[in-house]
Symmetry: D2
Subunit: 289 residues, 4 copies
């Protein structure tokens, strides 16, 4: 029974598919006095994996929040070999935005934060250029310019990691950052590092996708948000969208139309992540709705 904005626990889990999983988890919540407000599961037949997202109201739940994880591990997860994460609806994640020179995604994310769409903090913007410092100042956010050269790449990445730790960042968003992120940062923020690529991947991976789309004469262009992995533009896809184009659209017009896609698709991915609706497995994502 759900009665609106109350505190909830959110459990994301996957394990080898087997009998009784729905009953076991449903029983765990019911037995301890919880009321389920969201329950969705997915079975990937080809891999034999069970995925689940369950959310329940904490009001009346007999286990203290800080003990839920341990109890779940003891009673359920261990038995079924589950990999799981537990969140609470009143967490307030801290975001860092990495940008380069293009402001459209940055403005879009900042306006969702300032407009109250997302319950997050955004204490840090990192860039390889000075261009967008005025935007950061306008919104009162720390701005660090760390220009990248082949020589200083590793050192700058180390400074980035320090900044992320110092600001206790939970999620890094590459808002048209235009730089290849190094392995240390990828490893530290696995499944917490979201990029927007300006094509419908896997088409037009790499540099200058709008030029490539124009040269090929496609009738739709797209954008793709994904978790960053070691392989460029090949991480698990979170969201994609497209828009029609015509012969009238030169590259500049593709870039213009694409900006709206990039804004939307990046925001969709961040929103799904913040809602704890994403499970990543192999190179694919389960996006609960």
């Amino acid at each position: 029974m759900s009665t609106g904005p109350q505190r909830t626990a959110i459990l994301l889990a996957h394990c080898p598919d087997q009998r009784g999983l729905v009953a076991a988890v449903g029983d765990f919540v019911a037995r301890h006095g919880g009321n389920i407000v969201y329950f969705d599961q997915h079975v990937d037949d080809s891999q034999g994996v069970f995925f689940m997202r369950v959310e329940w109201a904490l009001d009346g739940f007999s286990i203290a929040p800080e003990a839920i994880g341990g109890t779940f591990a003891d009673e359920i997860a261990g038995h079924y070999g589950m990999t799981w994460r537990l969140h609470f609806s009143d967490e307030r994640p801290r975001l860092a935005l990495f940008v380069s020179r293009l402001p459209h995604c940055l403005y879009d994310l900042l306006s969702r934060w300032q407009g109250g769409e997302w319950a997050v903090d955004i204490p840090l913007i990192v860039s390889n250029h000075e261009d967008l410092r005025p935007v950061a100042e306008r919104f009162g956010i720390d701005y660090h310019c760390l220009p990248i050269t082949p020589e200083n790449k590793a050192a700058q990445e180390a400074r980035e990691l320090e900044l992320l730790r110092a600001h206790e960042i939970d999620l890094v968003v590459l808002a048209r950052y235009m730089q290849i992120v190094g392995p240390a940062l990828i490893g530290a923020y696995r499944e917490r590092l979201i990029n927007i690529h300006h094509s419908f991947l896997p088409a037009f991976a790499g540099a200058r996708p709008y030029h490539a789309a124009h040269a090929r004469g496609v009738k739709i262009i797209g954008a793709t948000s994904h978790y960053v992995t070691e392989e460029l533009d090949a991480g698990p896809i979170i969201a994609q969208d497209v828009t029609p184009v015509t012969h009238r659209d030169d590259v500049d017009e593709l870039v213009r139309k694409g900006r709206d896609l990039e804004r939307l698709v990046l925001a969709q991915a961040v929103h799904a992540h913040l809602q704890r609706k994403i499970l990543s497995y192999g190179n694919r994502t389960v996006i609960f709705d």
Copy 2:
């Protein structure tokens, strides 16, 4: 654990929302040896109603198929005040198609049947005109022409009902039938009578929606499939889709573009119905995916 095309039971249910529903149903299936291959639920907070679709493999299930309904009623449904329906994946529903003069939706439905997309039988076509009899003959289907006048409307509707019963029809599809269906047929086929309306309802209900759309100068047109109820074009919506139009599109061009929408949106609705993915409640639908 799912291993592909095996025989399954499909349960659709709704009841007042209350604690323990997921656990109870999950336990029912598990306790009797079933393996859940699909489980989805939805809670409508505003109405306090719980909706559920659960599908499990019958292989190894300890209750005989013909006894599942009774057992579920005794053990679960009665206790929680559930309204429920039980289906089996190997049912082969029988469809009747009602048409008028336009062939596009008719051809589309017939080709999905003939092409093996749907495991159905289509033994009956009813029309108020003779125009499409050659299409019926081409596909070897009984065709009954029952012209409707204000005077004979009730009598013709009675004949339609006889035909539906004689052919043991499970689902009636109005494939651009263009006649207002009478209350006896609506009552006999409640939630089993699907219509396609050529606008994005509730805009442009009633006659000549493409003319109305053109006059209003809209930039998108749509189509809507819905269960038929006593109120014209106001039944529970199953599927909708739209397509962009421009100032270049005169009414004839709207009609042309609309045909593709009508085909698709009607087929989507019939497909969801055949997959037992629709729960109707009040004037709304829950479409499990």
Copy 3:
């Protein structure tokens, strides 16, 4: 022959359809040494009206810019009974934004201006509430709070008109203003006053469209931008877009998804207006592409 960002003249015209119009306008440009970079026309058969947008490079054109209008009137427009407007590609229109309490469209428009997407000035924001003054200050824009009551409506509208004149405003954008605009402002800014309505008009005109959409159980929601006329939500439509929704989406979620539509559809309309791509006729628009 077009060679990129050079100064151009843009002519928008309509007149009763008649023979020789394309030849006459094409000849006018060619005879005076202009090179056409864009030529599109549309004939509305049902009304017998010819619409045209032609754009030509001024480099090498033998008529001085300030004399083009007069020469065109003498040589062409008078002869064919044309209604026409002449623009130049280097005009920099001045926009006023009217807002209420919701910031998302405001931020979106401001970021397009600040990000250099649009060559405009935005010197003025008017609101009936104080809420968004901090946003205006953040971007250094004059903010005037003119609360509206039934008693002061006419007087406040007069002040609005004064402000618009004082700031030499060319285009007024109602960015979720939530107030019915009075006839004086509508008259003064005819075809220069753009509104965003949060439904796919003509469905759900008036107040609380997301609530109405939820109650009806639609499977798509939309947004519509239009020029404001005396009849509420009934002016010529400029752009519309939609997004799918499901039974899972309560009203709050419709509002959330709708915000992205509103941002995009309002920006599309403003962009088309700024590009001088819109001709309005009766209650319909021709949007050249």
Copy 4:
């Protein structure tokens, strides 16, 4: 001035961009007493090429239809170096359909023909399998089964060409033919040979695109229609469309959803071709609307 379904001439042309083209063509039509019902042009700045589609009513036109081409060549095309084609609105093109085992595109095309959507003849179906012969018989169309092996490929292709010539075929449509077409047929039907590929090209070119899409975990799938050229899946794109997919969609479900895309996108391409709205240049298309 247009007054509906009258006989028209349709001219498609491209040439190096230069001053006076619109005026010259507009004057040609006007001088000989024609009334333009459609005029659209496009300048590709990057290549310096001018494209044009002009359609005018023949009623009152002073040049006999069979002499229009010659006169246009003499008066206009030669002077400007134009490549051009002339069509008349009452032509009735003859189509051949190449199929394999999947019937959905075949049924869709046949129903558009039988339903009167297209003014064409379809006298010939060619396949490498017997499966769809009953469909051809149902519609009374010649069906030729020409199985392809590496050894007989050239010989069978020669037979195909004979059949196409014997039936005076104007346009060949590969309706999920699943065979690589040989160079003789491509050469004989250049820009008159349309294929449907079941992905949003250039992603997932080649075999088994739905499997590849599933493996990559994309959130949209697409279909692409294009003119066939010597390079596989790389010809000029005519139309593309996409549909969203989720983690729930296994390969079979992608195939199912994709069928609707394939039907629509192939029909869109054939329709545009029949309307004489396509100009191909390099590896790109101009699709007039």
